[in-house]
Point group: C2
Chain length 324, copies 2
Amino acid sequence: MEIKDIAEAGLLQRLFPFCVAGTVGDDGALLTIPPGQSLIVTTDVLVDGVHFSDRTTSAADVGWRAAAANLSDLAAMGARPLGITVGLSLPPTTKVAWVEELYSGIKCCLQQYQTGIVGGDVCRSPVISVAITALGTVDPAQAIRRDRARPNSAILVTGYHGKSRAGLELLLHPEAGQGLSAIERQDLIISHQRPKPRLDVLPLLEQLQPAWIAGMDSSDGLLDAITQICGASGVGAEIDRQLLPISPSLQAYQLDPLDWIMAGGEDFELVLCLPQNTAQMLMKQLGNGSAIVGYTTEATEIWLTNGNDDKLPLASNYQSFQHF
Amino acid sequence: MEIKDIAEAGLLQRLFPFCVAGTVGDDGALLTIPPGQSLIVTTDVLVDGVHFSDRTTSAADVGWRAAAANLSDLAAMGARPLGITVGLSLPPTTKVAWVEELYSGIKCCLQQYQTGIVGGDVCRSPVISVAITALGTVDPAQAIRRDRARPNSAILVTGYHGKSRAGLELLLHPEAGQGLSAIERQDLIISHQRPKPRLDVLPLLEQLQPAWIAGMDSSDGLLDAITQICGASGVGAEIDRQLLPISPSLQAYQLDPLDWIMAGGEDFELVLCLPQNTAQMLMKQLGNGSAIVGYTTEATEIWLTNGNDDKLPLASNYQSFQHF
């Protein structure tokens, strides 16, 4: 059964059950903001053949990843999710089952974080695309911005990098990674298909109350995040190659995965700049994969060091993900 | 110059000046909600070749219409605009000038209503599409919903219907409407290209404080709005054909424009159900084009009457706009 067989009304009827009760059916959704909280809003568009493909991603995974990417942007701002809207463009020949699977993937991800779909739009298009806007709330004094990093901040990553990219490679080339155990292979693939937005970091930050904080998520790669934060804050950075955490699965796949760690992208971890002592405490609480990988500097260059002798300029060695 | 010549960074640099200062450049925008207000969120996706075409719509008009459609959804909920996000999908061969014109059209419309662009995303796609999410604030006690119409409410339209559809016809067939004056022709075309969201109705409603109110906008046609409100509220309606206001320009174009008035779509007026006396006062304040066109009934059918003798079932005579 295809979308054209059930028309818009039939499609909406099937999608309403995936939405939060009482939010759809009007021209807009009405949402309550807790007193003292500000609103955070963020938007992402995913296009078939550009951001996902049938080859590597089921409809449910497309949905999960789209939801996770947007929740990750909320986490990166220090915000708790309030709900998302889904603007869906579909060729009339799209299978109804595909759309239902997409929505179940979105809903499944959102439910892990106690939030849901609060509105949307469906329309005809020659290509499938999913435009998600996520809404969240934050105490404005605790919002995380990119431009607040001070020199001599610790640069902390909340988890491993490079795993999503490795998982994509395994999906594209199933014959690769012969040395991997089934569990290692699955660990990398799941990292790509079902990334976890790091909303769990927020309550820890709230307890630790860092004297200052800057940060963003690493959706476009770890190096991109460091570059963006440094650029916005007017600082530089030294990243110690030996401090970059490498997940055991990734290490089993590739002996020297530095490229994927720095520029693989889509790991959806947080990259935070905060005082050294707070960073140490946060790192201990986060455990596995979290690490302080370097520090910010007054000089605005970004260097990759190797222990303490070699020193390479980082930015020029990698190209961050370009959307065009 | 095309998008692929300036890449994502170059494109973003050109689009930032169209956005509200201080809202872009982070993973999300931080917006302040006035105390006691709830949030309204609404989403629309427009696709090239489906919702607009170069033949009838310049990039600036596409932008204006996309912004206006979303602001109209806010007005339909009784909400004041807080800002919009724009998720833009573009083929790499899209002209940079086209995109800048699109954004200037969006900004121009938003400025009329003291609001702006507060975030977005750009990405590559085989087809141009514009996904807009509008955010607004409303006193929850004054939100306008579809499901609150009571029997014997007046059904009020805030302005003329059918003009946008007539304007579209004139753009598609410039040889049509020979009997129109230049001013009449322009009036109809502008109704299509630069529709006005009826945010101006909200302060009037606030003063009048109707004992009850239900409503929505007429973006998918007047009949569709009446049908949706009646369906959601469990009431019926009698619409008096002789009470439907016909704009002088539309009348000059077509002697009997009933079809376009009922189902033309995209006039972005509000259709409100409220007590008779409040409706009378509102109609007087709104002036030209506003009218009480009928009333709701306990019986759930929707009839078109002709003065008081003829009575035709309305819903079955028209097909509302289908997105697939």
